[in-house]
Every structure is written in C-alpha cells, then in structure tokens.
C-alpha cells in the first residue's frame, strides 16, 4: 500500500497540491464500476447483436446517436478554444486550453466508441474508407471525425508528456518540444476538420428529402442545418467548458482559472447563441412556409402529437436559446458566477434538446399518411453503454487533472492556497 502511495506521489507534479491517494481512489471507485457495467452492456450488444437495444426498424437511430451528436457538439469547445487562442490570438484563454483538449478527446473518443457498438457490423468500419460514397454526409462525418480524433490525440500527447515522470525520458522531452511547435498547426487543422464535421452532422439530417421534418434547402450542396449545427456547436462548446471547469473547481475545491476566463467564454458563447437563435428562427420560418409545404407536409403533421409538440420548438428557441444567450451576454448576470453557470447550463440543455428533436422526433413522426406516431425508450444496455462513456470521460479527466498540468496557475496566485 505504501508503495502505491509513493508511486502516486511521484507522478504528481512538484509544487501542486492534490488530494490523498485514498481519497482519489475512492472518487474513482463508482466511476470504474459504471465503466465496467458499460463495457459489459456493450459486450452484450456486440456478442448478441443490436437486438439487445430497443431500437427497431422505425427507430433505426436511438439514444446513442442522439447523445453522440450532443457530446460531439459539447466537445466543440476543444477545437473552438484552439481556434480562438492560436488563430484569433485570444491569449487570455490559453490557461484553459489543455483542459479543453482533454474534454474534446474524451467527447470524441467516447462518441466513436459508442458508434462502434451502434453499427451492426463494426468490423466493416474500414469499408467507408475503402469504398467511400462521396455523396454521403456520413462519409464526410466519418472522415472528419477520424482525422480530428487523431489531431486531438496529437494535441493531447504534449500535455501527457509534461507529466513529471515522463519528462525524465529525454527522447519524450525532445518529442514533446517538437510536437509543441506543431500545436498551432494542429489547432488550425483541427478547426478546419471540426467545422466540417459539425456541419456534416447537421447535413446528415438536412439532406433527407424523405423526411420533410428535417429536410432543408441551403447553399450549394449543404443544407441550412449544416451551418446551424456548426453555429450551435461553437456556441455551446465554450459553455460546456465553463461547466466542466466549474465542476472540476467544485470537486477539487480550487480556483482553477481566473473569473475573467469564464466571463470571456460566456460572452463568446452568448453572442454565438444569440446569432444561432436569430438564424434558426429565419430557417424555421422558411422551412415551415416554403420547404415543408412544397413536399406536402404542414405544421400539424409535426406538432400534433403528444408529448412532442410545438413546445419543443419554443423551448429550443426561447427558454433554452435566447434566454441563456442574454444571461451570458448581459454584464449584470454574466458577472455573477451563479447566473453565468445557469446560463451555460441552459445553453447546453438547449443544444441537447435540439439534437434530441433532430434524432428522436424525426423518427417518431410518420411520413406515410396511414402510419403511426411511434415511441421509443432505450433498453438498459443502451443506457449502461452510454453511462460507461460518461464514466470513461470522468476517469480520463480525473487522471489528467491529477497527473498532468491541465490548468496553468493564474498569475500571481499561490497554487497552494486552496486545500483539498
């Protein structure tokens, strides 16, 4: 036991305070248990097939695709912060960059892991690279997510190699130094790839002519949802980063970043969210009055079914769109931590609801006039698999926080002021 304590202490950076080994292990226990349950549930799905889920021929996409879209949008904070710091030179956001990379890595790798369980023939995943259909938005998503995950891993390696023990290996030190020079390039490549795949995730639905509820016209080959998904992702990414950092501060009992960083992330999130709400409102009006009627579908074909009604459309736009945008922008609310966190939470909830509507409501709605509105609830295997991904995220973030320099200490602040 004492050996373990010694090893743990040796891997923690000098001069920083971390909780005791025992306390850290106790923190990890429930998450490891949830991860084990998730791996078991995913194993059942892989071994026995997707009959372990409650998806069916009508609900061909379910909880996994909905939450994948949601966490990928949340993970947008990674590429967008890199874009702000390295391309737009917003240096004051640099202290949060490493944390953003870990959040992005966790979100993207978790989503890819779930997708591997979600497809019926995971061993054929390489077919998309070998026989790509260049007309498919899913091909674009697959290519960009794979490449961006690689970029995130490359961005994470320099953070990883700054660990106290790993730094002792000279070749690692040289590698980290060289890789660090590449980080601005990686950030630019990552931003390009991410803009595209966030958009193609929206395009995934927008091109579906056979689903008038989501079909949209747009610019060139891209439907309007392509641009709306980019905008909503970069709007909510900073908000999610605020929430993750605030949660980390709460758990560790430390001030990890200056309040100014939160304020700036909140402002960026709020302004982009306000822009999104404006564009979304115009898009909705065009869709309801022009696009959808031209296909023979009117609003009552979408909004006359309980429990999914036009309330959702209102909720996405006003209480979970415009309202949090104002909370994040107005100095009187954004200056107060509680209101800022509340605004960020509502913004994230809004994007969650948006992704839910695009995935679940689309499939619940009948297209044939003589078909039914259907309902779906996930099986325990679906819930547990996703629970496993959340646990994986918490574990990776916790380990990264403990052993890696995730947050640069605020200037002038004594890192030892707070006590765990």
């Amino acid at each position: 036991m004492s050996e373990l304590l010694l090893i743990d202490r040796r891997w923690i950076a000098r001069g920083v305070e971390r909780s005791s080994t025992m306390r850290f292990l106790l923190w990890l226990v429930p998450w490891v248990a949830l991860l084990a349950l998730g791996i078991y549930a995913a194993g059942l799905c892989l071994y026995y097939g997707l009959n372990q889920t409650n998806m069916d021929n009508r609900f061909a996409f379910g909880m996994w695709i909905f939450l994948d879209l949601a966490i990928i949008a949340m993970g947008a904070g990674a590429f967008f912060t890199g874009f702000l710091v390295y391309i737009l030179k917003q240096e004051d956001l640099k202290p949060i960059l490493n944390s953003a990379v870990v959040v992005g890595l966790v979100c993207y790798s978790g989503a890819v892991a779930v997708l591997m369980v979600d497809v019926g023939q995971p061993l054929r995943a390489w077919f998309t690279f070998w026989y790509p259909n260049t007309h498919s938005m899913l091909t674009e998503v697959t290519f960009c997510i794979s490449c961006y995950l690689l970029v995130l891993i490359l961005e994470y390696i320099p953070v990883l190699l700054r660990n106290r023990q790993l730094r002792k290996v000279p070749s690692f030190l040289i590698f980290e130094h060289q890789l660090h020079k590449l980080v601005p390039v990686l950030a630019a490549v990552g931003a390009f790839l991410s803009f595209f795949h966030q958009g193609s995730l929206g395009g995934l639905y927008g091109v579906l002519r056979g689903r008038p509820f989501v079909y949209r016209q747009g610019f060139a080959i891209w439907p309007s949802t392509f641009f709306l998904f980019i905008l909503s992702a970069i709007a909510v990414g900073p908000s999610f980063l605020i929430l993750v950092t605030a949660a980390a501060e709460r758990v560790t009992g430390r001030h990890l970043v200056k309040p100014g960083v939160f304020r700036k992330l909140g402002l960026i999130s709020g302004v982009l969210l306000a822009m999104y709400v404006a564009v979304k409102a115009v898009d909705t009006l065009v869709w309801l009055n022009i696009t959808s009627p031209s296909l023979g579908f009117g609003p009552r074909d979408y909004y006359s079914y309980w429990p999914i009604s036009s309330t959702f459309l209102f909720a996405v736009t006003v209480p979970l769109g415009l309202f949090p945008a104002l909370l994040l922008i107005m100095p009187i609310t954004a200056g107060k931590r509680g209101w800022l966190l509340f605004g960020a939470t509502l913004a994230c909830a809004g994007v969650l609801l948006n992704r839910f509507v695009f995935t679940v409501q689309t499939l619940a709605l009948p297209t044939l006039a003589f078909d039914d509105f259907l309902q779906y609830s996930p099986s325990w295997q679906e819930v547990a698999t996703f629970g496993g991904v959340i646990a994986y995220g918490v574990i990776v973030y916790s380990l990264s926080y403990r052993y890696l320099p995730l947050f640069d200490p605020p200037k002038g602040a004594d890192p030892n002021v707070s006590v765990d």
Binding site: F61, G120, Q121, N133, L208, G210, L295, F370
Partner: protein
C-alpha cells in the same frame, strides 16, 4: 435499351390476405421471426397495411395497401446517404440494389427512406431443424447486423437472364421474370413489367387516371404505382394532410 422495372398494385383488388408477404419471405430466405421479435423488428420486405377512411357505420371504408421498396428513380434517398456504396441503382434495370456483404449496418438508409421499406437484421438468421432444406438456393441468406429490402426478386431476374442467354436471346422473355409476390397474389392485384416500354401493360396502367404513387410530392419518383377508383385512397396516399385515423399492419 435500359429497362425500368416497376409494378402497379390495384388496391381495389387487394383483399389483404398476406399471400404476397408469405411468398416474398419464402422466395427471399427471410428467416422465421425469433420469439422476442416485434412487428417493428421483424423482416417484412413486403408489408400490407390495413387503412380505413376514419368514418364509422355505413360510411366506413377499408383498403389494404401493400408497401415494399418503391425502387425510387430520382434522388433515391437511400443511395445517396450510404457511406460505403452498399446501395446502388442498377442502370440496366432501375432496381435499387442492396449489397448486404458491404453493409456496415449504420441504418442511415433506413432513416432516409420515407416509405419505411428497409429492414435491419436484428438477429442471426436461424431456421427450425429441417426447414433449412426449403431454402431458395438462388438467394444468399443475410447475416445479422445488415440492412435488407425488396430487390424485385433479383434471383429470378438472374434466372431469366440465364434462360435468355441459353436460348441465344438478348432480350428477356417477360414471362420468365415475375416477382414472387405477383405470382402468389390470388386476385391478380399486382402488375409487373418494364415502365420504360410503352407496349408493356404496366406502362399504360401506371399512366391511367386512377394510378398514383405514395408521397409523390417528395420527388423520389417511385417505380411502384398504386391504383384505386376510390378518391379518398388516392388523396390519402398523395396528400399527407388527409391523415387516416386508424391503421394497422395485417
């Protein structure tokens, strides 16, 4: 000249007996549904819907609508979305082909299909002992985790081609290529043929005033037509807002 195979289903003749569904399953080696399967997880490349006009008493009318892959001809929704080209339109026949061996099982094509005519293999295919001897040797059994759908009995098309080649003919004899559903229909409600051939009976019926297509305004150009002399049936199929109050699968 390229063919455009399609069919016209006369809804005024359809009695909803389900023989087409059974014949389709037998012809295409569709395995029996496992005990846990539901109507929403089964494999029914041909599915008959029972639809009413929503009225009661003497005003009540019923119709049976067999729904299968519509073999969409333009902007085929499932073809453009498949990430690995497992779905293609055969230019020689107009048939929308599904390649189970290349299918990833992502089910994006199922989401894209407005007719809900695509089915996922949720279970490993299995037959009761001895029943495997009744399998059609011309049709490959699909594995778990892939999507399948009606391919207009493609094995029969191959047989017809082989027969024509053996006889030294370049053109198929229409009598040699007849889908199983048509063969089984006791009321002759299904008409099949080449929609590109003006001399084919299916061409003239498809262009008759009583003919219509499901969700025609989506612009997917289905090659499966329906025919009915009842105005409410046509309105229901074409105009989505005329929603039926009741419907169920046979």
């Amino acid at each position: 000249m390229s063919a455009r195979y399609g069919m016209v289903i006369d809804l005024d003749r359809c009695t909803g007996c389900g023989a087409c569904m059974v014949a389709c399953a037998a012809e295409n080696n569709v395995p029996p549904a496992p005990p846990r399967a539901t109507p929403r997880t089964g494999l029914t490349p041909m599915l008959v819907h029972k639809v009413t006009n929503g009225m009661e008493g003497t005003a009540r009318r019923e119709v049976f609508i067999p729904v299968t892959c519509m073999q969409c001809g333009d902007e085929t929704p499932c073809v453009s979305v498949c990430p690995q080209q497992a779905v293609q339109v055969d230019k020689a026949t107009g048939i929308v082909m599904q390649m189970p061996q290349r299918c990833l099982g992502c089910r994006y094509c199922m989401v894209a299909c407005p007719y809900h005519a695509r089915y996922f293999n949720w279970w490993d295919p299995a037959w009761p002992a001895g029943m495997e001897k009744s399998l059609n040797p011309g049709v490959a059994v699909r594995m778990r985790g892939v999507v399948e759908k009606c391919n207009l009995c493609h094995a029969r098309l191959h047989s017809a081609k082989e027969k024509a080649a053996a006889a030294g003919r370049k053109e198929l004899d229409p009598a040699d290529y007849i889908p199983a559903c048509l063969e089984a229909c006791p009321t002759g409600a299904i008409l099949f043929g080449n929609l590109a051939d003006e001399n084919d009976a299916v061409f003239s019926v498809a262009h008759s005033p009583d003919a219509f297509r499901l969700l025609a305004r989506l612009g997917t150009e289905p090659k499966v037509y329906y025919k009915s002399g009842q105005a409410w049936v046509k309105a229901l199929a074409e105009h989505h807002s005329e929603r039926a109050k009741e419907s169920k699968h046979v």
